[in-house]
Amino acid sequence: MSLQSPLGRVLGKGSAKSGFHHWWVERVSGAALVPLGLWFAFAVAALPNYDQETVRQFIGDPCHAVLLVLLAVAASYHSRMGLQVVVEDYVHGKGAKLVVTLLLNFIHAVLGVAMVLAVVRLSLGGAA
């Protein structure tokens, strides 16, 4: 898929780096979060109570676990993409931008893995 204009293509101009990819995956993950997020919000609100056992069963249900892993991955990815744009807008200076971006990547990786592992533990019955 190309967003280059015909003239731009002839002149060999266009995104030199991965700008278009960033724009695209931010939208794809956002679109995925619409049904996932709506399902999650209303499914959790509909729980009869929030005892640990009830919540564990909800998360560990095979169908729910699939949706929750997708939610965790899409949300952490989308959040990282969105915050990167914010950083690019407001953090000036190459060094600071690099440090903050790396930090964001690191935090989102930790969060994403933690959420996925929690769901996997409960769905495979590994929780104590």
Binding site: L38, I59, G82
Partner: protein, 129 residues
Amino acid sequence: MAARERPLSPHLQVYRFAYTMALSILHRATGIALSVGMLLLAWWLVAAAGSEAGYAQMVACLGSLPGKVVLFGFSFAFFYHLCAGLRHLAWDLGHGFEKATARRSGAAVVVVSLVLTAALWALLLRGVA
């Protein structure tokens, strides 16, 4: 001529204020809030998989009045960002750029996100009232 600093977006000072600008800023603000709020989602999942004491601590914190206020704000931020995100997707597909349409879709985003927030909390608090 001395080298001038080139202007960097976003510009906030050079435009006459229109409420659609506030909506745009709110989209970014709610996005940032949701990123921070994702910590709560992670806490909820990890605590559910973890010890009883840790889970009780999480419930005590999020179930307290300040906790509920944060969750309420979080839920509005979520629905607002979702609706405004759909508006952005329509723009990305090339629809809805006319001034009147953009104003109307902006108002619709606010109304729908408030309705969804109210519906969610009605569901959550059923049986309490």
